[in-house]
Symmetry: C2
Subunit: 100 residues, 2 copies
């Protein structure tokens, strides 16, 4: 429950990012993070089981969309907006601007 795999900027793949964001649960996590800046896993589950959410956080992490850090017993998540924007300029903004 400590060392997370975060890809380097150069390893972020467009296909993986698009795939991760094609899931409604993950997309809503990303939208909420964009609004709130950062949030714990608990603050981002919608009453869903922890194990399901943990899976979605892993997908978001391992494709380079989210960065997770330890904060006591909880995990704080934030978007890697800068990294994403430097790799795919305008992509995140376009997705976040899309009608919900």
């Amino acid at each position: 429950m400590r060392n997370f795999r975060h890809p380097a900027i150069s390893d972020i793949q467009l296909e993986s990012v698009l795939y991760a964001l094609s899931d409604p649960v993950r997309l809503s996590i990303v939208r909420q993070l964009a609004r709130e800046g950062e949030a714990t896993c608990a603050a981002l589950d919608g009453g869903r089981p922890k194990s399901s959410m943990s899976h979605h956080f892993r997908v978001l992490r391992e494709c380079g969309i989210v960065k997770t850090r330890n904060d006591g017993t909880s995990h704080m998540n934030e978007l890697r907006s800068g990294d994403l924007n430097s790799t795919f300029p305008g992509l995140l903004a376009a997705i976040l601007a899309a009608p919900k």
Copy 2:
């Protein structure tokens, strides 16, 4: 082999579009269409079986990315760039601009 389902602009869903583009084969189809304007299915297969390609064209069609029309025995495909851009401004451009 005649009537294709093309969603109306208002029915184009972000998640479906992202999912469709998260596949390498489909993404490369879209890139080629962006370069060449339009192309038949045959011009877009990379030596892959027709039935596989037909599946991918269907996914691209049914999520609103590609418009297919009959042209003799062949099918001509083109991007619905205008429709996509009016629904998700900047999204297609950002994806096409991404490093390959």
